[in-house]
Structures are given as structure tokens and as C-alpha cells.
């Protein structure tokens, strides 16, 4: 399961609202203990997709390296990636799955009419063919 501390969660929701009606993205940093991913910090990241961002996001590799460096400095791991679905449910789409990575939890935030509505977390497999829903607390 993944548990997101309040300050990190507030950062994620604020970033998703700021980016609306475009998709936001970012990283979740923290520690993993006894099978629980505990998110202690969230880092908003740039949506690097060069096109309509209303329905697409892409991480910037240079920024990913910087976030990794920050995580190391704080003795955290990058536990997951978050992104938003503006005016749409928080499901894991085919494109989300095909461009995912099994090392991370993927939290999707549904933003409806500019406001947070609901969220879900997913764990994709190595082949990027299936993602299990993961219990999420925030």
C-alpha cells in the first residue's frame, strides 16, 4: 500500500489544480517500510510533452535525475510518480500503462472542473500489460 503524508498530498493536489486543464506530473519521495510506501515529500515536475497537455504528460529525464539526486541527499527513495486526469476519472489508461515503469507506484488524481475529486494508485507489471490497483491513503 501507499500512504501519503498531508504536506506531500497537499503539494500534489495544489500542483494538479494549478496545471488544470492540463495534466500535471511529479514525483513522490519517501521510505518503504514493511511493505508500505510512505510518501514524505512530493516534487512537482514539468510536463515535458510538446503538444496538447490536456490529455498527455511526459517526464523530463534531466529533472528525473535531479529528483533522484535530491532523494539520495535526503536518504529517501523515489517511490512513485503522480499525474492528473483533468475532467476525467482516476483510472490507469492504456497510454499510462504502455509508458509506465514497475519500479514505482503511479498515483492518478482526478481533477473535475478545477477541483480535486478522487485519486487511485496503480502498480504496473514489467511487461506494461497490466496494472494492479494499490491501496492508497492520504
Amino acid at each position: 500500500m501507499i500512504r501519503i503524508e498531508k504536506q506531500a498530498w497537499d503539494t500534489m493536489v495544489a500542483h494538479a489544480r494549478e496545471c488544470y486543464p492540463r495534466e500535471c506530473c511529479g514525483a513522490m519521495l519517501g521510505v518503504e517500510e514493511n511493505g508500505v510506501r510512505l510518501v514524505k515529500a512530493a516534487r512537482p515536475m514539468r510536463n515535458a510533452f510538446e503538444g496538447a497537455q490536456e490529455d498527455t504528460y511526459q517526464l523530463d529525464p534531466a529533472e528525473q535525475l535531479a529528483v533522484e539526486k535530491e532523494a539520495r541527499a535526503q536518504s529517501f527513495s523515489v517511490l512513485g510518480i503522480f499525474h492528473s486526469h483533468p475532467d476525467c476519472d482516476a483510472y490507469f489508461s492504456k497510454r499510462d500503462l504502455q509508458n509506465s515503469c514497475p519500479w514505482y507506484s503511479f498515483v492518478v488524481l482526478s481533477i473535475q472542473k478545477g477541483e480535486f475529486h478522487h485519486a487511485n494508485s496503480f502498480l504496473p507489471n514489467f511487461e506494461q500489460t497490466e496494472a494492479k490497483q494499490e491501496p492508497l491513503e492520504y
Binding site: 517511490l79 509508458n99 515503469c101
Partner: protein
Amino acid sequence: MAKILIPTPLRQFTAGKDTVEVSGATVGDCLEALTAQHADLRKNLYNDEGKLRSFVNVYLNDEDIRYLGKTGTAAKDSDTISIVPSIAGGR
């Protein structure tokens, strides 16, 4: 020896090490040496056909090896190799 930076979620497979030093003439050799030292990493980086998984991007210093010589890119002792997952998506 070239230095490979281990992504934080994969440190569990390298006994907690942030970086692993490896010998290899090319980036591909270095990655093979890494997974020879830490066998549990292999499934994370390579598919069943022995090819790098589609989400695994590799950087030599600050350059994506897809735009250099791919895994045949020459590696020097002073080089740093980074593993960066390719992540995107959308509704």
C-alpha cells in the same frame, strides 16, 4: 572504472549501494557487469530476450545513449552512467 548511479528504487538489489563501479569497454558491457555483480537487477533492466526493457533509458554523463552509439557507446573510466526510466501517459 565507470560509475553507474543506481536509481533509488533499485538500491534494494545492490545491497543499498547508490553507485556501483564497473569495468567495461562500452555502456552495454558496463550494464552487463553491473547485473553480473547484482543478479537481482537483471529482471529490472532486461527482458526475457536479453534486451534492455523499453522503459529503461541510459545516459552516459548527460547524453542519452540512444543518440550516441546505443549500448555500443564507448565508456571511459571517468564516465558516469545513469539509468532513467522513460515515463509518460495520459487519459
